[in-house]
Amino acid sequence: MAISKQQSNRLKKYATLIRRHIIDETFHAASGHPGGSLSCSDIMAVLYFNEMRLDPQNPAWEDRDRFVLSKGHCAPALYAALAEKGFFPREDLITFRHIDSYLEGHPNMRTVPGVDMSTGSLGQGISAAVGMAIAGKLDKKDYRVYTLLGDGEIQEGQVWESCMAAAHYKLDNLVAILDYNGLQIDGKITEVLSPEPIEEKFTAFGWKVISINGHDYSQIIDGLAEAKRSKGKPTMIIARTTKGKGVSFMENAAGWHGTAPDREQRDKAMSELDEVLAKLEVE
């Protein structure tokens, strides 16, 4: 279903703000993971500004939808979304990874308001999300559980253990999204250790599989809506993305997986992103 220009622009604005924060967070930290954070920014914008039931004033609200960033190294994207949503001040974002900051290098549920699970060791987040979905079923709650995985992350065996469990326990309140940008630290996922064919694997594991373009808001929204309609099984949304999306010189470059921009690169990235925002203003 096509979405209105207004809705699309609103999400584009949030995604661009998230991207700006990612650049600033990693620049001020002089470390961190911009590439994979940028690739999932549009998905994060839809989740936090269109999809999830949340109350920034009450982060521990029992009936809230849950989100687990299984690819925990993309904390800059999560923190940016949480700050824009109002869970904590935007100004704090530039303290990311600093010794006196609560914004740990990887998401910490004990220090960061709005973080539902501490993650960072790959493969564990999706399992925790399975646990939250099981708890939701036990308590007969109607909240939904979302988790975002990296494509390299699915090389972890634990992902498949938990996928088996999610299908076995018919967790239709669980949606996993795969940020399928094709790159991991050492290069192309197909060259490092191919997880292909990905769609067929998740289908064989008993999941409903939906393939989308992870930068197309209407496709993301439709995918999430289709997941909601699906009963009796969990949903995996395979979102094809571009690593480094939105910053020209970071796009499709594995080198930007875990490298922070220097001042010049930061300024260049910011001017590109500001241009996007300016265009949205005109529209």
Binding site: V68, M109, S118, S127, A128, A129, M132, A135, Q158
Partner: protein, 313 residues
């Protein structure tokens, strides 16, 4: 005739006994008949989840359930719970300090015939090195029951070390009281203190009788909580007896002996001898024969006690 019950039986029965608390969720990884979580499963099937032979997944799923206000018991053999799923216990459970209790059965060499691959001799060392983790090693089924109750009442990660072998029941259910982090002096003595955990507590009591025959008065201390360790009871024993022997069904590297050495070395050094598995893997055999082969006996405690006493200045 001494009544013998395995601590895993005490664990399973306690889960069923206290399972009326709807916050409690029990998980297993295809070992429910061995870990005894099936006792809970029969009573509360809706709150039991078998995660299959997937310990890593089980630990992180348990953590996720715990974020939703549940008290989750996740069970497997100690060797897998602490070893195979270590990273999950570390990062999904201990780092976020979630309310997951790990019921780790078949600890130590008394697993018996299954042999070295299945005999956990390093789990105390691994688990007590983790920040936020509480490590409990009950001596009998009565203590195991109380340990489960204490674990439910405590908000945070707990590692419960349980045995396969039926061991003598040494505590009286009516008079026993369990306080997390507090050791129990089972009998007074002035020449040496034997500090034991798990099934070696009973062995220490046997050793006391052997020592008495040689005119040596031994104090016997049961350490059910290895972390946080009861420094007070250890230092009091060191000051009053001047010599310590530790006894555990675990490697002498990193276990109870090491925990006691850390307390003594930093506060009040006295001669210390350790009875435990001496840096080698277990093997197949009958549990009682293995205990003999590995020196986990009253007679070995006796000789180590005499050595420790000789080292006093």
């Amino acid at each position: 005739m001494v009544r013998k019950i395995a601590t895993r039986e005490g664990y399973g029965n306690a889960l069923a006994e206290f399972g009326g608390d709807k916050r409690i969720v029990v998980m297993d990884s295809d070992l429910s008949k061995s870990t005894k979580t099936d006792t809970f499963k029969k009573k509360y099937p809706e709150r039991f989840f078998n995660m299959g032979i997937a310990e890593a997944s089980m630990m992180s799923v348990a953590a996720g359930i715990a974020t939703c206000g549940k008290v989750v018991f996740a069970s497997s053999f100690a060797v897998f719970a602490s070893g195979r799923a270590f990273d999950q216990v570390r990062n999904s459970i201990c780092y976020p300090e979630l309310n997951v209790k790990i019921g780790a059965s078949h600890a130590g060499i008394t697993v018996g015939e299954d042999g070295g691959t299945h005999q956990s001799i390093e789990d105390i060392a691994i688990m007590r090195a983790l920040p936020n983790m509480v490590v409990i090693s009950p001596a009998d089924a009565v203590e195991a029951r109380h340990a489960v109750k204490a674990a439910i009442e405590y908000d945070g990660p707990v590692y419960l070390r349980l045995g396969r072998l039926a061991v003598p029941v040494i505590f009286d259910e009516d008079s026993y009281s369990f306080e997390l982090g507090k050791g129990i002096t089972l009998s007074e003595g002035k020449d040496v203190a034997i500090i034991a955990t798990g099934l070696m507590v009973n062995t220490a009591l046997e050793a006391k009788e052997l020592l008495e025959k040689e005119g040596i008065s031994a104090r016997i201390i049961n350490i059910h909580t290895i972390k946080p360790i009861d420094s007070d009871i250890i230092l009091k024993a060191a000051k009053e007896t001047g010599a310590i022997v530790t006894a555990e069904e675990h490697s002498i590297i990193g276990g109870l002996g090491s925990a006691v050495a850390e307390v003594l070395g930093q506060n009040f050094p006295v001669p210390l001898k350790m009875v435990g598995v001496e840096d080698r893997f277990g093997k197949s055999g009958k549990p009682d024969k293995l205990l003999e082969m590995y020196g986990l006996t009253a007679s070995n405690i006796l000789s180590k006690a005499k050595e420790a006493i000789k080292m006093k200045r």
